[in-house]
Symmetry: D2
Subunit: 348 residues, 4 copies
Amino acid sequence: MSNVRVGIVGPTGYAGMELVRLVAGHPRMTLVYLAGSGARTGPLDAHLPHLHVLADALPPVEPLDVHKAADLCDLVFVALPSGESGRVAWEIAQAGLDRGVKVIDLSGDLRLPPEAYEAWYGRPPLPREAIAQACYGLPERHRESIREASLVANPGCYATACALAVLPLGNLLADVKGPIVFDAKSGVTGAGRAPKEHLHLGELANDVYPYRVGQHQHTPEIEQALGGAVRVLLTTQLLPIPRGILVCAYIPIPPDEAPMVYDRYASFCEREPFVRLLPDGQLPHIKAVNGTNECHLAVRWDERSRLLQVFTAIDNLGKGAAGQAVQNANLMFGWPEREGLNLVPLWM
Amino acid sequence: MSNVRVGIVGPTGYAGMELVRLVAGHPRMTLVYLAGSGARTGPLDAHLPHLHVLADALPPVEPLDVHKAADLCDLVFVALPSGESGRVAWEIAQAGLDRGVKVIDLSGDLRLPPEAYEAWYGRPPLPREAIAQACYGLPERHRESIREASLVANPGCYATACALAVLPLGNLLADVKGPIVFDAKSGVTGAGRAPKEHLHLGELANDVYPYRVGQHQHTPEIEQALGGAVRVLLTTQLLPIPRGILVCAYIPIPPDEAPMVYDRYASFCEREPFVRLLPDGQLPHIKAVNGTNECHLAVRWDERSRLLQVFTAIDNLGKGAAGQAVQNANLMFGWPEREGLNLVPLWM
Amino acid sequence: MSNVRVGIVGPTGYAGMELVRLVAGHPRMTLVYLAGSGARTGPLDAHLPHLHVLADALPPVEPLDVHKAADLCDLVFVALPSGESGRVAWEIAQAGLDRGVKVIDLSGDLRLPPEAYEAWYGRPPLPREAIAQACYGLPERHRESIREASLVANPGCYATACALAVLPLGNLLADVKGPIVFDAKSGVTGAGRAPKEHLHLGELANDVYPYRVGQHQHTPEIEQALGGAVRVLLTTQLLPIPRGILVCAYIPIPPDEAPMVYDRYASFCEREPFVRLLPDGQLPHIKAVNGTNECHLAVRWDERSRLLQVFTAIDNLGKGAAGQAVQNANLMFGWPEREGLNLVPLWM
Amino acid sequence: MSNVRVGIVGPTGYAGMELVRLVAGHPRMTLVYLAGSGARTGPLDAHLPHLHVLADALPPVEPLDVHKAADLCDLVFVALPSGESGRVAWEIAQAGLDRGVKVIDLSGDLRLPPEAYEAWYGRPPLPREAIAQACYGLPERHRESIREASLVANPGCYATACALAVLPLGNLLADVKGPIVFDAKSGVTGAGRAPKEHLHLGELANDVYPYRVGQHQHTPEIEQALGGAVRVLLTTQLLPIPRGILVCAYIPIPPDEAPMVYDRYASFCEREPFVRLLPDGQLPHIKAVNGTNECHLAVRWDERSRLLQVFTAIDNLGKGAAGQAVQNANLMFGWPEREGLNLVPLWM
């Protein structure tokens, strides 16, 4: 039953083109509307030759018309730059209110309370009612609310990878007294497709470096996703590869809980369709989840330092963006969570 | 009707693991047998974590047993190193003769006449009858014979990319008086997965270089695929990327044929399900065909030099190996040629 | 005797920063003036942390003042984008005329006759007298004129690599009847440092593709460097690496000259301080000349196709830009040609 | 006064070839002896074409002869694989005892007490007297002993980058009560040049992953370098680039010391010729120290988590191997510490 009509706003950006790929392969979705805010209109595969194989399934890219989006679609993904995306998502949600249109925004605009947004993004927030209406779309934490939501704020890529490293702790999190350190590394598509000097291959090839340390806007998002009870240090580092996030979380759990903690992770991962606990002795590879919505996770108690160490790997455009958005759509429409998301990565 | 039982010999090599991915996603194939010649046995995803999502569909890897392969399977892909692969394919084909087992060998062992094989591979050839029985599996040239074949020699990656640049000329090829130059570049997976110093990332990163120039074993294969009428210079060059082949062919067609040549390419590509003539002004990107069985092709007449210039891009593991093997299987079983091969690449 | 005072205009671009490195290490040069046309002023190592080790030897970057450059310096390198660079070089040359200031422009602005420039660059040329005064700075061809010149047009990177593949033919070039094909591949710094979408690491990583084929502005430059007697087809292709050019030239020499051609290359390379003929059986690696002014060259007669095949590898920022500019400066000042250019590459 | 005669054992490995480059450029050293333990003998540039420019300064590579090394050389660098290197270094040191030959071993064989070596390297240790004689060569901690030493155990690459992040704390280290976490990432040359599957470019390109976590043999070396008073968690991660180490250290100093801690780092770095404290707001780039002996360091107090965060970047083959070995040699011979080490990196 492939009859949910889908629109994508921003299909030439990195998250947007990934959404096109996922929606085109989803058995219950039909792509009916593609709209951009820029100059790239017409056949999508004229801009993105790898999508030619989908050409017959792709509507032409049009200049964005919020009302048309709300009229044509049952579901709209909005994947524009932060600062523009949330407003568009909110406008479509309002325009489609009576038709019951569902909207998922992939930007950071609807994820934080207005005060936190202004402080961390350095830009005026959207109206409080917009933010209040948006449900934070981390299925592993907010599954039930997402099912009921009509407007979802899709989580950030770093925030997803960090939160998934800690959420399996469950109520043990309350006993974590010290700060949690997230040492996180990301491929370059996390920075968007707009050309900037530091993203030039001549600059980034052969380099790795930290950036925005202590100031990254995903910091408050992680603290919020963890329930607000822990202090977090997020170290963000840029990798000279297109995709993927690897996080190492250092968590000071009470040492006497160490023997039981592996079971907590195991049972969490058993319940969660996209979080996989790696067999003992294996550690996650960024590459092993490329192009998918999977999260690979490894956990170990380090007796030497008496710290719990958790690794997570996701695709920043998969579980960190487009994949998670489709997972959220599956929840919003009451479908199986893995519908359209049984994706097999390339190893090289 | 997913009832053709498939075996893959060599599933931990680069072509083999790609076959696993393609067969697992093919609507008419069921993977029933995985066998290796080396030490890697047991669950395949223990060696290849990215395949975990397929774990339920994967039989364990066993030490190769030719008779078991011939008994269990309707179709066997053999993807071992050259020198070993053809012999195994031939043995399975013989063992499965009465059951009508179909075998596709991805190595170079069954592609050339014995004398040429010995000269270019520097190694004794397989028995003449084995080679005689094998059908050279380039669908764009031998489609009808492939449909009837029970043993197929899947073409080489360079040979495929080069032949596809010239085959659209059709009978005009007879008027090409001078040599055809193929300046070809390949990603590193074309060299196989066995560790060698020159494939070490520390060696190859940031480098590009020619190798085996004038001595590459795909040279006679190309000449044979083009009907033996032209002299060929194949320049092979190694790229510091995992996948993809880009070929630029320089063809001295008679200049007065130049005005009509584009139409020849257009009508060839219209007939061929996997060869796409790019719109005027576009040139192929290796990336745009990654993970697929597509060949992107651009053709231009260069008035300055009076040479026809043709670019082709394929994935060396797709149309250059596993993808083409599945295309051949589709022909051998009488299925639509694109069955199981509507693959959408990642752009990054 | 380190008393030639040097200025560099454009020190934050790729060729410019390489000039800084070379000039700072040159025993007869002292860096006295750094000027940019953009917003980056002040200490150079604030923009380029890798140059911190030179901080004491670096004058601050100032907004460009043509007269100051002409007053302070004995030698000025101008490495601005084409369209701006040649004009600045010409103005400095004029302003420094009575002081005998020498100027080397690294752009394409002064390399071609006005008509050719306009046709290939699509932009109005500089005054005919400026172009007439500039000496084309390919030492292997114009050594004597460079020694006398006060204004040098430093050759293009592709043009250098292509010309060096053919110049050793000497008067045999007159017997080359057919076109010469140059299949050329370049690292991304050849495209400059200004951010553009196609240079984004997310776009270019894992990709290789041809561009501007038959339209590249180095085409007429190569034909001119070869004396105007041959037709040339230049295929330019972008590599996902920072540096390096690899050219394969296919040259239809008269077959009866084949036995003697290796000696022509050997004796040319013996005379030339920066062109190295590789030992028989070796082929050039881009990496082996990175960061240097060397050109590695291999030549082979291909009996099958009856074509002479010549490979050259240079660093597009070395022999293709900054290194060659310093070589030209050495000639202009009457110093040994390798002065300051005994550079040892990193292998990885 | 270039009269110290130098031998290098293992010149075709990654650290060895870097030593060749550094020694050849050192104003007080002359390379007189090159010896390998494997099959690569004869002219070094036959194996390493980038070293051709040094050909006249390179003795041929010979099969190793310990006594010849001790007779010919005043100083020998030994850069063989761990397990073999320390024994060779010890033998040369003994053979050259009366001549006062100085030996620097770049392996891990002489860095740890025998018991720790056996536990972490899983291999029998060298004789206790060998280990006792070797001076651990971290100049920032053992400068005075190195000056007197005739046998130096050059530190490990991770150990150097980690120790340098903490040593500036000085006596404050005694007040660090909790564990220090080192989240460390390294380019692939740290794993040596011997071919292994996981170092294949097809495997490692586009990937990043942790390995040997909690088991890396540099763990006890770091604890020892820090005086044995702190517990350490070392997370080692492999990067798809040739060179460079980036470490982020998380250090639980007493919060009331935070205001003074920057000054400790500043004064340490002022004294140290190769450790550079980056200006406030800058963070280190791996690339900025490539090919050099520099260490770039940034320090920040994170008020949110109340942790001191220190970043260090070094070249694993520079300050992490060959560069540091030359720095140690400078100390052993009483020369200025930066002699021969004023190296300027390439930015791309």
